[in-house]
């Protein structure tokens, strides 16, 4: 059943798809020698390691417990824990704490016990995280959405060069429908909508075939436009609803899950299989055999790129994630994480962005393409001038870093880099304010404690005095007179 287009989302632009190797069948990466799992993100601890060096682990055994809602980490292959130390990371900070496993075999699989009943805890212990790129813990999302009014399955792959969702849908359409039906039984959504873009013909036909004339799952074929795959943009397009700023769609009862995340969640809930492998697109002119590869999470970029014919000489930049929202990495021994949807080896032929940062002429083209209806040139002007609180008022925290503004800017200004830098500074400032408020409470608590103690002591001395007055009133008059004289001397 086709879904009428409620409302086109604001801004956005048409990008050349150049999906090299999207049609190629997916391949499987041979076992790499070592696997690297990160325990910290920007030096802030996110996981606690539960194995120690020299211990042997089995295929699928969990090696680190996630703090808070963070899902756990599992070994993609059996092997020996080689080291726990700092290694080059894909995030902003250059070095991260990581566990390194020397792989040996994958025969005997670690059996997970089935004690956990609650589905969001099970998802957390099976390590399921968002695979669209943000790696948001799926367990937390499912729990926050409860019985969602609408469940959107996000097969929209609007970034150029990316084709892992398309390949997944093309090759495993039936398993996806089975997964959707199984999860629908679990989370009881009001409506189920599978969204994908009409220019991925093979995926659309595969899904249509798999769905047949089923009525409970709606298929939405959307015209291709970047950044339609964003959660808020997809909701605005399909449901005509704007998620209020600062709140997650899950809290409104709208659950949005990436196609790959749905598959991972299905494996976790139905078969208790942890998330250890994911489909990664390898593209860009620097790779001779681009395409989609089943990669164990933790494999180094070097192994994956060499597997697809990497030509180091021509490559100017290696990006983890899509060409628009991905992040450049400086060294190739960075590892694949759950959120890595693509590894791109970009050469000069890929219209590589050279941020020459010429002066901004306020042409307003970035304002037209911004899906969050922000003013990128005004925010950039205030960031350059150092007025970050002014930038926050004009919506810095609503920027989804989709890169549309930096793509169209004629002066090639590093807009997204400035916005992310400003966002991090604002987060640090918020932390300082929160700490100041917390310490303010400590001070008030201390004053209250001292005041209470003083009143207790006053109470005791008052009762002692009353008792003395009943025993010998005359002496007490002398005491009062002396007190009066002392007090009058102080007042003068």
């Amino acid at each position: 059943m086709m879904f009428g287009l409620a409302k086109k989302f604001d801004g956005g632009l048409k990008l050349p798809p150049n999906k090299h190797g999207a049609e190629a069948p997916s391949r499987i990466l041979p076992i790499p020698e070592s696997l690297t799992y990160y325990l910290t993100k920007n030096i802030k601890e996110t996981h606690q390691c539960i194995v120690n060096i020299g211990e042997t682990v089995l295929f699928g055994q969990s090696i680190a417990r996630g703090l808070g809602h963070q899902p756990d980490i599992h070994a993609a292959y059996g092997g020996v824990i080689e080291a726990i130390g700092s290694k080059a990371g894909p995030y902003d900070a250059p070095e991260e704490q990581a566990v390194i496993i020397r792989t040996s075999e994958y025969k005997n699989v670690y059996k997970h016990d089935d004690k956990i009943k609650n589905k969001s805890d099970l998802l957390k212990s099976m390590g399921v995280a968002g695979m669209g790129g943000a790696a948001f813990p799926t367990g937390e999302k499912v729990q926050a959405a409860g019985a969602p009014r609408v469940w959107l399955i996000n097969g929209v792959e609007c970034e150029p060069m990316l084709s892992c969702d398309q390949c997944l849908m093309r090759e495993q359409a039936d398993k996806l429908v089975q997964a959707i039906r199984y999860l629908a039984a679990e989370i009881m959504p009001g409506r189920v909508i599978l969204a994908l873009e009409s220019d991925k013909a093979d995926a659309v036909s595969a899904m249509r075939l798999a769905l047949g004339d089923v009525t409970d799952i709606e298929l939405a074929c959307l015209p291709p436009r970047y950044p339609q795959g964003g959660e808020k943009q997809l909701i605005q397009t399909l449901l005509g609803l704007e998620v209020p700023s600062g709140t997650h769609a899950a809290h409104l009862g709208i659950l949005v899950l990436n196609v790959a995340t749905v598959m991972a969640a299905f494996d976790a809930l139905a078969y208790h299989l942890p998330l250890t492998h994911r489909l990664v697109t390898v593209a860009g002119q620097g790779v001779s055999a681009p395409g989609n590869v089943w990669v164990p999470i933790g494999a180094a970029l070097k192994d994956v790129l060499d597997f697809c014919g990497y030509d180091g000489a021509a490559t100017l930049r290696v990006t983890v994630g899509g060409p628009m929202m991905g992040r450049a990495v400086n060294s190739l021994d960075v590892a694949v994480t759950k959120g890595t949807s693509a590894i791109l080896a970009l050469t000069a032929a890929d219209e590589l962005a050279v941020y020459s940062a010429q002066p901004c002429i306020r042409c307003g083209v970035c304002t037209e393409v911004c899906p969050a209806r922000l003013q990128p040139e005004d925010m950039y002007f205030n960031i350059r001038a150092g007025r970050l609180n002014r930038t926050r008022e004009t919506g810095l925290m609503d920027c989804i870093a989709c890169g549309a503004c930096a793509y169209v800017c004629p002066s090639e200004i590093p807009l997204v880099a400035s916005f992310l830098y400003a966002q991090q500074i604002c987060r640090i400032e918020d932390e300082q304010k929160a700490r100041a408020a917390y310490i303010g409470d400590l001070v008030k608590a201390r004053d209250a404690r001292l005041a209470a103690r003083r009143s207790v002591r006053m109470g005791k001395s008052a009762s002692r005095e009353a008792a003395a007055r009943t025993v010998d009133p005359a002496a007490m008059e002398k005491v009062d007179a002396a007190r009066e004289k002392a007090r009058s001397k102080i007042d003068k």
Partner: protein, 171 residues
């Protein structure tokens, strides 16, 4: 005749003006405390007395009274000076004392004789201990205000540097 009429006119004018002002000043006395609360919220509440006033509230009152300048808050640094400048319309002045790296107090438990003097001195109550028992500092709550060091008789408290927080670099 000219002189008298001139005197009468100016005298009457000034008198009536003065009376009107006196009445208005008493009726609409300015309320200061609303501003004090606003200022206090901006201050980092470390009660460290680095600004020369025994705590954040006295410093806020001093600012409203006009005795204190807006850049005396050392832990607040740039952020507080800008925030106060924004609220009070005063233009920006660099902070008087620059906050060194954030520090945390640390008691060498072996030498602590349990005299509870530092507990009384700590403005945020982050030192735990009973008389004659060993004391220790809750590092999470300590603001590094060094008020506990002077009262300690055996001088067993020293300041430790916190690991530097990762700073994003400017593109």
């Amino acid at each position: 005749m000219e002189m008298i009429s001139a005197l009468i006119v100016m005298g009457a004018l000034c008198l009536s003006g003065g009376l009107a002002l006196a009445w208005a000043a008493r009726k609409f006395a300015g309320n200061e405390n609303a501003l004090v609360v606003q200022i206090e919220e901006l201050l980092p509440q470390t009660q460290c007395a680095q600004c020369g006033y025994p705590g954040c509230k006295p410093y806020a009152e001093a600012i409203v009274a006009g005795e204190a300048d807006i850049n005396q808050c050392q832990p607040g640094g740039e952020r507080v000076v800008k925030a106060l400048g924004q609220l009070l319309g005063a233009d920006y002045r660099p902070p008087a004392k620059v906050a060194e790296k954030p520090m945390v107090a640390f008691i060498r438990e072996a030498e602590c004789i349990g005299c509870t003097l530092c507990i009384k001195a700590c403005p945020v109550d982050c030192i735990i201990g009973a008389p004659k028992q060993m004391h220790t500092v809750i590092t999470a709550d300590c603001t590094g205000c060094t008020l506990c060091i002077p009262p300690c008789p055996v001088n067993c408290i020293d300041m430790e540097m916190l690991p530097p927080r990762w700073q994003p670099e400017r593109p």
